[in-house]
């Protein structure tokens, strides 16, 4: 009989056994009666000889039972009954744990989606990002040029495929309004690299890279919306940047490359970069570093081995082309996943650490709840011990109860996670790569289960320790006049721990909040209110450089004359959109070796830019329309640039030679004609970037954004600006329309996310630790009711009683605060990695966090202390 059958056969076994024993007795009685014994005597004798029927039946039945499982079920039933008797305790406990586990699970679901999940391609662990490495700069900071990429591709023996990619806006015209698409220019073997295929049609082939080839693979979404979702699209041409491109494939739904960015809509090959609208096509400019590269390691090749071989290739390139490559003697390889998650990893791990603390705090709270509850039941336990229950049996009973509650809390936490993920994640947009893929799946549920199990162990430690080490029989002996015990040392230790953990969370929240305020309140260096910015897609053959300049002249002219527009200008890049363009330069009279040239951010602007953006001119002059290609080359720098490179002297009049090239004349020596205020370029940088501004007419690179200062609400201008653009050229798409304030808040979205979460955790931490303190103090007061009553009866002033409670509270709180502050300072380095512009050991912040905790602790102490002081001695002594 299997154990399974046995579970169900039990009733029959019992019935058989009873009948068998009854039969045995009957047979014996009949025999005795037949031998002449009176019936009553016979019955007695038979029973005597048989022994205790009930005990025999029990022993016989026990043979079949599973004592462990059956006790567990009995314990479970008992636990549920007990919990239903005190719903307040059950709800408080389960809720505490649900918050602790739920917060952890929710953060884990984000960490899993963003950091842990592999890239969605077969054998994704073999995908690596490949970067040129320069001893002068951080790893992964430099791009590769086409000629170098081609050499990498030909000379490496470690990659199955090595693919270049760069993003570009591409306009789609032909059917309906012109739209700007996010495009990627890639080398032909993108799909083989990823070991995937387009859902429809084919991937690129090597000859799609040929100079005249124009083929495109479109995203599923673009195909379904704009292109009508017709499978017949394959082989047809669409107009991209006003050139016909043959659609050869439609990517699978959900496919995106590069992974984690905004959804790319079209992929074209580098054939388009062969065209020459500069002096030389970029595919032949070895110094034009604009590409990212990703490779798939050959089977059995380690990333170290690949790095060594690629270093060899790079070294040889540096020898062959020293002018362009001597500064990049090596390569830097990184797993593609690590590259993607590099920025998000630290803040997310920080959050995971914070919720970990929160869970510990919740556990401590719950453990304390269990301890007080056990204390209430001490008499029950003592009684059960006295009548013969095994101590282990009582421990098991208490454990079952806490486990039941923990798992109820765990189940509730899953509901909470789903809610959090649904509510919070969509609000984050695309600021963090892959975050939109956050979902509550099997892995997340597994995590919830593991967290619940860990919690169950943690919360059971304290009660188990208490049960195994305390003399549980004392309460019975104590009787009505027993001595009074304070709250257990264990409970006090837990409260100290809670206050410490709560304070650490508060400190983290305070630091992040201060960082956030610092970021959002600091002067961005320009005036973002009443600014409207947008871009126009004029890349392509229809707009060679001369026509671009003419177009922008016309555009600025017409926008400037619109009602409600103060001024308009061009800028590339816009302030606060990240440090995307940098250039090395030589300072006249200070020769430096090529590899040690100073670098700076650059921006290309038109004369009205500083006025439109609200950036003050500090020294010298601004740009004018006379600063064009036929006049002497000039520059304007910001104050950070002047302070860094010309400290203690005036930068105006100094001459530098930046490596930015406008035409065949090559780099030119430029005179600094003005110094302007610091406008922030990187949204999260702690100190202002050095920037040099070029006049657009002397460096007419494609494609600047337009910045418009409005007299009133900037968004009101959008319709009239759109009609201006389409009146110049109906085929031009207008995109990235943003107000200055939007740019300002977009840059800090990840920080906002972190801060909001952390403040939430800090608040919950504060609440939980105050509740913990309140619980222990109230409990102590209840336990000491008689003692306090006697004191009052003997003439103690309420004030003295108050002090009694306050003293205990003060000891606990002080210990907690000291430990918490020490912990916060120790964790400061970790926090410093994600907090911007704030010293992680800032004493004002730490002390204000401690003050908040102290205030909450005071509230938690006040009620129990007040209750103690107002104890009526008569009632108190009558309570027993």
């Amino acid at each position: 009989m299997s154990w399974f059958e046995r579970l169900f056969a039990r009733q029959r076994i019992d019935a058989d056994l009873s009948e068998e024993i009854r039969g045995h007795l009957d047979e014996r009685i009949d025999e005795l009666v037949a031998g002449g014994v009176p019936r009553d005597d016979a019955v007695a004798q038979a029973r005597r000889q048989f022994g205790n029927v009930t005990r025999v039946e029990e022993q016989a039945r026990d043979v079949w039972t599973w004592p462990w499982i059956e006790d567990l079920f009995a314990d479970l039933r008992f636990a549920v009954r007990q919990l239903r008797k005190s719903p307040g305790f059950a709800a408080a406990g389960a809720l505490t744990l649900a918050i602790g586990i739920g917060a952890n699970t929710a953060v884990f679901s984000v960490v899993d989606a963003v950091v842990l999940r592999p890239l969605p391609f077969p054998e994704a662990h073999r995908l690596v990002s490949v970067w040129p490495r320069s001893p002068a700069g951080p790893a992964g900071a430099f791009n590769v040029s086409y000629p170098n990429f081609f050499d990498w591709r030909n000379e490496n023996r470690v990659f199955e495929h090595l693919v270049s990619y760069r993003s570009t806006p591409i306009s789609l015209t032909g059917s309906g309004d012109a739209v700007q698409l996010r495009g990627q220019i890639v080398s032909w073997d993108l799909f083989p690299l990823l070991k995937t295929e387009p859902a429809l049609g084919r991937g690129f082939r090597p000859n799609d890279e040929d100079a005249g080839a124009r083929t495109v693979i479109v995203s599923d979404a673009l195909w379904k919306t704009r292109l009508g979702g017709d499978a017949g699209i394959i082989g047809r041409a669409i107009n991209l940047d006003r050139e016909p491109y043959v659609v050869i494939g439609v990517a699978a739904p959900g496919f995106n490359f590069p992974v984690g960015g905004e959804q790319v809509q079209v992929w074209v090959t580098l054939a388009v970069d062969h065209r020459s609208d500069t002096v030389q096509p970029v595919t032949r400019q070895r110094g034009s570093r604009m590409l990212s590269a990703m490779g798939r390691l050959r089977d059995g090749i380690s990333i170290e081995h690949a790095g060594a071989q690629m270093n060899g290739v790079a070294a040889s390139l540096a020898q062959r082309y020293p002018d362009e490559n001597s500064r990049y003697p090596g390569v830097f390889l990184q797993p593609a996943l690590g590259e993607l998650t590099r920025a998000a990893r630290r803040p997310l791990l920080f959050l995971l650490g914070a919720v970990g603390l929160l869970l510990l705090l919740a556990c401590a709270n719950f453990a304390n709840l269990l301890l007080s509850r056990m204390a209430e039941r001490e008499r029950e336990f003592a009684l059960r011990l006295a009548i013969g229950a095994a101590r282990s049996r009582i421990v098991r009973q208490v454990m079952t109860e806490s486990l039941t509650l923990t798992f109820i809390g765990g189940a509730a936490s899953v509901a909470m996670t789903v809610l959090l993920v649904r509510l919070a994640v969509p609000g984050l947009g695309t600021a963090i790569p892959r975050i939109e893929q956050t979902s509550v799946d099997g892995r997340v549920l597994g995590f919830a289960l593991a967290a619940t199990a860990l919690t169950a162990v943690l919360v059971s430690l304290a009660p188990a320790f208490r049960l195994l080490h305390d003399r549980l029989s004392d309460p019975l002996k104590d009787g009505a006049f027993g001595t009074v015990r304070g709250p257990g040392g264990l409970g006090s230790a837990l409260v100290v721990g809670q206050i410490a953990l709560g304070l650490m969370l508060l400190c983290g929240a305070a630091l992040l909040m201060a960082g956030f305020v610092h970021l959002t309140r600091r002067d961005p260096g320009f005036q973002p209110d009443r600014l409207l910015t947008f871009s126009v897609g004029i890349a392509g053959q229809e707009y060679p450089r001369a026509r671009q300049i003419q177009f922008y002249d016309q555009l600025l002219d017409r926008i400037g004359s619109l009602q409600g527009v103060r001024s308009a200008a061009l800028a590339m890049p816009l302030p606060l959109t990240g440090s995307s363009m940098t250039v090395g330069f030589d300072i006249a009279g200070r020769p430096a070796p090529r590899s040690a040239r100073p670098r700076s951010d650059i921006a290309i602007v038109t004369p009205g830019f500083f006025q439109s953006a609200g950036i003050p001119l500090l020294q010298g002059r601004g740009f004018t329309n006379q600063d064009n290609s036929s006049s002497p080359p000039v520059l304007i720098v910001n104050r950070a640039f002047a302070d860094r490179f010309f400290p203690g002297e005036s930068a105006v009049g100094k001459r530098i030679q930046p490596g930015a090239v406008a035409d065949a004349r090559g780099p030119q020596m430029r005179e600094i004609v003005g110094v302007v205020g610091n406008a922030q370029q990187s949204p999260l940088a702690s100190r202002p970037d050095a920037i040099c501004y070029f006049p657009y007419r002397q460096l007419p690179w494609c494609c600047p954004s337009v910045i418009v200062r409005a007299a009133g609400l900037p968004t009101l201008l959008e319709p009239s600006i759109r009609s201006v653009v389409s009146s110049i050229d109906r085929q031009l798409p207008l995109f990235d329309v943003q107000t200055g304030d939007q740019i300002l808040s977009l840059g800090v979205t990840p920080v906002t996310f972190l801060t909001v979460l952390m403040v939430g955790f800090g608040a919950v931490g504060l609440l939980l630790s105050s509740i913990g303190l309140y619980g222990v103090l109230s409990y102590a007061v209840v336990r000491q009711t008689r003692e306090i009553g006697i004191r009052i009866a003997l003439g103690a002033a309420p004030r003295a009683v108050l002090l009694l409670v306050l003293h205990r509270a003060a000891t606990l709180v002080a210990a907690g605060l000291v430990i918490g502050l020490a912990g916060s300072i120790a964790a400061g380095r970790f926090i410093g990695a994600v907090v911007f512009g704030v010293d992680s050991a800032n004493p004002v912040l730490l002390l204000s966090a401690a003050a908040s905790m102290l205030a909450a602790a005071w509230l938690a102490t006040y009620l129990p202390a007040h209750r103690a002081a107002s104890i009526d001695p008569l009632l108190a002594l009558r309570t027993e």
């Binding site: 068998e20 039969g23 045995h24 047979e27 048989f50």
Partner: protein, 115 residues
């Protein structure tokens, strides 16, 4: 399972099982008949508490060394008759040989020392 399930403390653990198996090898019997048999066969030397038989029988059922079925006895009673299984027979042989070796050993130790 208390060792006290066998009234006579002289019975060592497993002795009752061994005797039951041995009786059943000769002839399938029900509980009451087993008790009577033990008493008679031992010339009333072994006083088995009748009740202790039943936990032992349940243990043997569970171990699969005996099987049981309901029958009507010659005296017209509905009784549960136990019989030895093949596994039970093997088990008994092993037990007996172990027991005999043990008994021989004990006897050697207890036999009077020859001067």
């Amino acid at each position: 399972m208390h060792s006290g399930s066998v009234e006579s403390r002289d019975l060592f653990p497993g002795a009752l099982e061994m005797m039951i198996l041995q009786i059943l090898r000769r002839q399938p019997s029900h509980g009451y008949a087993l008790v009577q048999h033990i008493r008679r066969a031992s010339n009333d030397l072994l006083q088995v508490e009748e009740g202790s038989l039943y936990p032992a029988l349940q243990r043997m059922l569970k171990a699969g060394v005996v099987k049981a079925r309901w029958e009507v006895s010659p005296s017209g009673r509905r009784v549960r008759t136990y019989e030895l299984t093949a596994r039970g027979a093997k088990h008994l042989d092993r037990q007996l040989s172990t027991f005999e070796r043990m008994l021989a050993g004990i006897c050697l130790v207890l036999s009077p020392v020859k001067p």
